[in-house]
Symmetry: C2
Subunit: 359 residues, 2 copies
């Protein structure tokens, strides 16, 4: 079985847990609902069901809900309405849903928060989606939201002092040299290749993958992207703590965020190289922070980042710095990030891609 | 979805956790290995696989391991050797295993202790097996060990002062009047009927159920059974605490253990009434405590009982009485239970049943 580093979202249902701090990701799923439905109605082959008569959906990198439940419900609704629109009401299959994430994900919380009125048979599938998680040709629709940007591991060069790709004083690649950017990109391509190889085995011919992930537009340099700035601010805040003597500079040098935002062009290339899937649709989604005219403040963004990164930062720097770090982050977000986000509000940051398993 | 009371085994991997206190159940699985293999080789139809080419196994009431992993490995080994014996090496399917237990089961521990070299795709399926947990015709072999004796709820009459079945001063039916025994039996039949109805939908035609559960021989009264005595001792120990004023008598009156040991005759009747399965085999297993000439002491039996019942007792009586209760239990076990067990050592206490889904 493939292993890869797990960077679980904060578990539990407490103040800083992912369950209570994933509304931004949730808004994206709402935005996607119509697009996902359209994709299923237009692109899903009615012949994908084998004799087992169960329609099987997997959500990869599901974390702990509630977004995963909403996403799955939307898919089921769309599949049902496809049957209904063809006058095949009596043929509507039973649904089985696999919730996948790393072994260290809080599956206990996930299971205990399953909707009461769920209209599917739920199962949890622990394991890295960079390797096989499911039997051959066993999935009809794969969904994955805000998970593919996580690298399976950090490129080794970026923490090696003797490498030109050493990422000194930074925790991400937005403001780094080309060697660092290339190292991140190479790791992303390796990971996506493993992901697609595994899924090509698991998804039935004619089956779909609905993938949502952050991206940056073709031709835009990472240093010009507000999303990358939101990562860089973690580094700037850590450097402030280093200046105060609270953490060492070496500790900051050896810490990096294992995330990569691909471009549509890069993504297309990796899918074509794999060869198992056709790209049926590629849609740029509006910035979720500004849906319905909202504009978040620095504190809200800091809380959101904390739910995602707290575990990783604790492991590297210890628990004591967390509150101060995210206070610093919130201030910097108000000063630098929000203006940058507002300025680039029209620029999409999330991509919705529909892939179909070739026959 | 069917709901039923959950009485989870102690979670975690601590001193009193089920994971570290289920060796008796584990021994039974070892004893069953040969019988299970024989049953699979002789009774499993080679035609059960549909076009999906995945062989699907479910362990119902799996708790937290390691027994569930051993049981599943044994089944996979047997299925593989069946293919090999027919010269069908190249046709050996992929295996998918569903680990089922109540939502409150410690699935996080289960997943993190999955064997490293597992040769199957693992998934956890939360929910009561007294209702549907899986899609139609989706399982090839169902396994359940030491789970079917748990009732979905206590019969209401036994805690009703105004009923002739009121079980005053006792926590089980071994030493109770006929009305109490009948109330327990009726609940068991209701539960088993629901269990079989659900499985009849989920197991493919020709698929097998391998069920292991405690029983008492036809014609033996519960009061004559050492297994029932092991439950009664919980009641006697609680009454000692009541005498000392540590718990109230009313609290003891309203506490009962939701377990029933059926007879082979009763079990046959409930399977026949359901009609979906044929009984292919029914085998009495030796008392696991005495396997390899071992004889446990009172403390060991108390620890074993504690892993199973601690949660339930805590909920009813609070945490403070637990240590003293099981100390009392250990003494009584040395004095009364071990001699009774030795005396009836030749009498089987566990039944291994193979059911086959009718075509």
């Amino acid at each position: 079985m493939e292993t890869s580093e797990a960077y679980p979202m904060n578990g539990g249902d407490g103040l800083h847990g992912y369950a209570k701090n994933s509304t931004l990701q949730g808004r994206i799923i709402d935005v996607c609902k119509a697009v996902a439905k359209e994709a299923i109605v237009e692109k899903l082959d009615m012949g994908v069901l084998d004799s087992s008569e169960t329609f099987i959906i997997a959500d990869l990198g599901c974390s702990v809900g509630p977004n995963t439940f909403t996403a799955v419900e939307n898919i089921i609704e769309a599949v049902k309405s496809k049957y209904q629109s063809k006058g095949l009401n009596s043929k509507i299959p039973e649904f089985q849903v696999f919730f996948n994430d790393h072994v260290s994900n809080d599956f206990n919380l996930l299971f205990s928060s399953l909707p009461q009125d769920q209209r599917y048979y739920a199962a949890g599938s622990p394991g890295s989606f960079h390797g096989r998680v499911f039997p051959k040709a066993s999935l009809h629709i794969v969904h994955s939201s805000y998970a593919l940007q996580w690298l399976s591991e950090l490129p080794k060069e970026i923490v090696n002092k003797n490498c030109p790709a050493w990422n000194k004083g930074k925790v991400h690649y937005g403001n780094s040299g080309d060697q660092v950017i290339q190292a991140y990109k190479a790791q992303y391509e390796t990971d996506m290749n493993k992901f697609l190889q595994a899924r090509a085995q698991e998804v039935v011919c004619g089956g779909l993958m609905l993938l949502i992930f952050p991206f940056i537009p073709n031709g835009i340099h990472p240093s010009q992207s507000a999303s990358h700035l939101s990562m860089d601010l973690v580094g700037y805040s850590l450097l402030d703590l280093a200046e105060k003597g609270i953490v060492s500079e070496e500790k900051v040098d050896s810490f990096n965020l294992p995330l990569y935002a691909t471009t549509p062009q890069e993504f297309e290339a990796v899918v074509e190289r794999n060869g198992g899937f056709s790209i049926e649709r590629m849609e740029i989604l509006p910035r979720s922070e500004f849906v319905n005219g909202n504009c978040p403040n620095g504190h809200q963004i800091a809380t959101h980042m904390r739910a995602g990164f707290e575990g990783m930062i604790k492991r590297h720097f210890g628990e004591d710095i967390i509150d101060e770090l995210f206070d610093l982050y919130a201030k910097k977000a108000d000063e630098i990030l929000i203006p940058a986000m507002v300025k680039s509000a029209e620029q999409g940051v999330n991509l919705f891609v529909v892939l179909k398993r070739k026959a």
